[in-house]
């Protein structure tokens, strides 16, 4: 039992934390959100230069060889600064799917572009009817000649607008919700037959609805064994949960601290509102929710690093349930305690609240993971 970081992990944390404090202001973030791209290309280039985009990948592919703890250390600090650069979509989700499902050749082909920042990517795994069931797919890939032809529709693809590469789940056999018969394809986003409808999301990111119409994919671009892709998506999604969960823990810390500060300054009836016991109890609860989420985050990250399997999955679901509940509690109460001002776009409070709300939905909400936890 040991909660201490290695020297490398500490260095990584210091480097990310320092960058976020000195070079990632809330105002700059808001400018990036309103820009055409939706994030800052300069920041992305810096992330690449600092080696952050290679953190989860093997050294053989030019990465850092990090695991869940490294990801956690980074993303918690991303959360504190509400980072909008598409690290989750490109590195964790799409990069993770290629890393876990891909052959040596496929990794060598795609990962270096992600690591050096030249390629943006997205994981297209959601369908309108499927909600959180990763196997509920009506998009099909039919074998034709020495390749496949993709037809279907993918919903709310995070980072879709910027993605050069799409990792797409589609059914190569079986019925709509079968566990078997799910395959993963790497598709060039500019290919004929791929059409996007782009839009912003409430938490300041970008996403797309993507239609695939007779899109030809070569057999070389199937990740892993055809029909066995579900396990790969599941692992990438669980890593995605660790990433957004860590972000949420970072968000909660900021909200708790900001709320405490605000309640010390804001006066009502001749005293700081923080003197009121009702508000104190709320803040104590916010503190406890954050600490509990953080503890479960550590446990889940350590389990993931021990090896991916049912024990790790169970820890991840427990963490996701906690983050969903705590995030909602901390977010809503931070807004509430800031009063009407908390409702405006001027304060950063509301933006954290929005991110926390979205994090609960991403990759399965409290109800979904409660059920998964019970079944594992």
């Amino acid at each position: 039992m040991d909660f201490s970081f290695t020297e490398e992990q500490t260095l990584l944390e210091d480097s990310v934390a320092r960058y976020m404090q000195n070079d990632y202001s809330f105002d700059d973030r808001q400018k990036a959100v309103k820009s055409e791209l939706g994030f800052s290309q300069d920041n992305w280039n810096t992330f690449a230069e600092l080696g952050w985009l290679g953190v989860p990948f093997d050294e053989a592919n030019g990465g850092f060889g990090g695991g869940a703890v490294e990801c956690m250390v980074m993303l918690e600090n991303f959360g504190k600064a509400l980072v909008v650069e598409p690290y989750l979509a490109t590195v964790v989700l799409a990069g993770g799917a290629i890393n876990h499902g891909g052959s040596t050749e496929q990794k060598a082909k795609y990962l270096p572009g992600i690591i050096d920042g030249s390629k943006q990517a997205a994981l297209a795994y959601v369908e309108p009817q499927g909600r959180f069931n990763l196997a509920d797919l009506v998009t099909t890939a039919k074998a034709e000649g020495d390749g496949y032809v993709l037809n279907g529709y993918k919903a709310v693809v995070l980072n879709g607008p910027s993605a050069d590469l799409l990792v797409v789940s589609a059914r190569t056999s079986g019925e709509q919700r079968d566990q078997k018969g799910v395959s993963l394809f790497v598709v060039d986003a500019s290919q004929t037959g791929v059409t996007r409808r782009d839009y912003p999301t409430v938490d300041g990111l970008r996403a797309s609805e993507i239609t695939f119409e007779n899109v030809k994919v070569s057999a070389d671009d199937v990740l892993g064994t055809p029909g066995e892709g579900l396990a790969t998506i599941e692992q990438a999604i669980d890593e995605g949960i660790m990433a957004v969960g860590a972000e949420a823990v970072g968000c909660m810390e900021v909200l708790y601290k900001d709320t405490v500060e605000y309640c010390k300054v804001r006066q009502q009836f001749g005293q700081p509102i923080g003197k009121f016991q009702v508000l104190q109890h709320r803040m104590v609860d916010m503190f406890m929710e954050h600490e509990q989420s953080k503890s479960l985050m550590y446990m889940a990250a350590m389990r993931m690093d021990e090896g991916y399997g049912p024990q790790a999955q169970k820890a991840v679901s427990a963490f996701k349930v906690q983050v969903g509940k705590s995030g909602k509690f901390v977010g809503q109460n931070a807004v509430q305690l800031h009063g009407g001002m908390g409702m405006t776009d001027e304060l950063n409070i509301g933006h954290y609240f929005k991110r926390l709300t979205i994090v609960d939905t991403l990759f399965g909400n409290v109800d979904f993971h409660l059920k998964r936890f019970g079944q594992l």
Partner: protein, 387 residues
């Protein structure tokens, strides 16, 4: 970062589990039985494990924080209702830090070997945790110290030889404006003028109201420098037993709950709430482990200890509630001394789970309402966090 215990700690845990299985109360035994307590205490003394929280030079086993945690968690988990005696958890550390050499010589060895039973007199009627309202008083009348007043909610008073009692001190040397100062004093429970009155809790257990009328105290009855009673009380509240490792209690509750659930069909809603509580238990364990890890490596506390107390209480209450609900109609039987004397357990084994189950069902009822003063503790945490 590593989530698992080291090989040494794993071996230690196995040893502890074996010890508890062998010498703790069996399923059909109760902690309230003196013989059960004495068997346990004799083995603890023999192993040198009776005072885990004391420094080595006073007879402590010199366990690491992780080992202490494993000990507490195992005891909490395996032995429903077990509590480290107040003498060891609270009085001992107080004497070690503040007691005179003479007091230490007189009492510590007796406490360590269970030769002497102690209780703690702390709570007073209508006082709660506000020290300023305490009114049990010790005064010097020229010939000696006399104690007057009343303490309530005193556990184990019926067995105790001594009481460690928080009092206001009125003496000629007092200089502060109210003329009052706080101190802990040692009271002989067999003194004339001291009377015991049994109070029954919701689950049929006993606590006592102890009244003092001109109780004469020994000359060296006061522990430590006068006027630090508040500080001493705070010290008593920092003992780890009953705070660290309480996930063990909740774990035992969960096990009982899962046992109950196996007999129930079509209880999806309850099942969902059980899963929710189970995740909170994982969270509590994670908090405990983080805290222990900081103690183990001499790092700053990641959060105040009070947080663990609040969370453990809340979760025991939640599990208690779920258990009471899972009992269904078997939440009703109330085994009193008359009807349960020499009788078998009420209800079939399948629903009652184990022997002595209706007693433990009642305990769950009490837990569901009040494990600890968690609202007071929230105030306390608010103060610690400087909100």
């Amino acid at each position: 970062m590593k989530p698992n215990l080291s090989a040494t700690d794993q071996a230690f845990e196995r040893q502890v589990v074996r010890f508890v299985q062998r010498y703790g109360p069996k399923v059909d035994e109760s902690w309230r039985t003196r013989a059960v307590q004495q068997r346990w205490q004799a083995r603890l003394t023999e192993y040198g494990w009776s005072v885990p929280s004391w420094p080595k030079q006073y007879g402590g086993p010199d366990w690491t924080p992780t080992q202490k945690y494993l000990w507490y968690r195992t005891c909490a988990r395996a032995m429903s209702g077990y509590a480290e005696p107040d003498a060891i958890a609270r009085v001992g550390p107080l004497l070690i830090q503040w007691g005179s050499q003479a007091q230490q010589d007189e009492y510590l060895a007796e406490i360590r070997t269970f030769a002497q039973q102690w209780c703690v007199g702390y709570v007073e009627p209508m006082v709660g945790t506000d020290l300023r309202l305490f009114s049990t008083t010790v005064a010097h009348d020229g010939e000696g110290w006399h104690l007057n007043g009343c303490k309530v909610a005193v556990f184990d008073a019926q067995y105790a030889d001594k009481m460690c009692c928080l009092v206001c001190l009125k003496d000629r040397m007092s200089r502060d404006e109210s003329g009052q100062r706080f101190a802990f004093v040692i009271v002989d429970m067999h003194s004339p003028g001291l009377t015991l009155h049994r109070q029954q809790t919701l689950d049929g257990e006993s606590v006592f109201r102890v009244e003092f009328e001109q109780v004469h105290l020994a000359p060296n009855c006061i522990i430590g420098p006068v006027g630090h009673g508040g500080q001493h009380a705070a010290l008593m509240d920092t003992h780890l037993f009953g705070v660290l490792g309480r996930s063990g209690v909740v774990g035992a509750q969960l096990e009982l709950l899962q046992q109950q659930m196996r007999g129930l069909a079509e209880e999806d809603e309850l099942q969902r709430r059980v899963s929710e509580a189970e995740i909170e238990l994982v969270g509590l364990e994670a908090l405990e482990i983080r805290f222990t890890d900081a103690l183990q490596h001499n790092l700053p506390m990641p959060f105040p200890l009070t947080l663990l107390r609040i969370r453990a209480s809340q979760l025991e209450e939640k599990m208690g509630t779920l258990l009471v609900e899972s009992f269904g109609y078997y939440a009703l039987p109330y085994p009193d001394e008359i009807t349960s004397h020499n009788e078998s357990e009420i209800g079939p084994e399948r629903v009652s789970g184990a022997k002595a189950a209706s007693r433990s069902r009642l305990a769950q009822l009490t837990k569901s309402a009040y494990m600890d003063t968690s609202l007071d503790l929230q105030d306390q945490l608010a103060r610690v966090l400087k909100l």
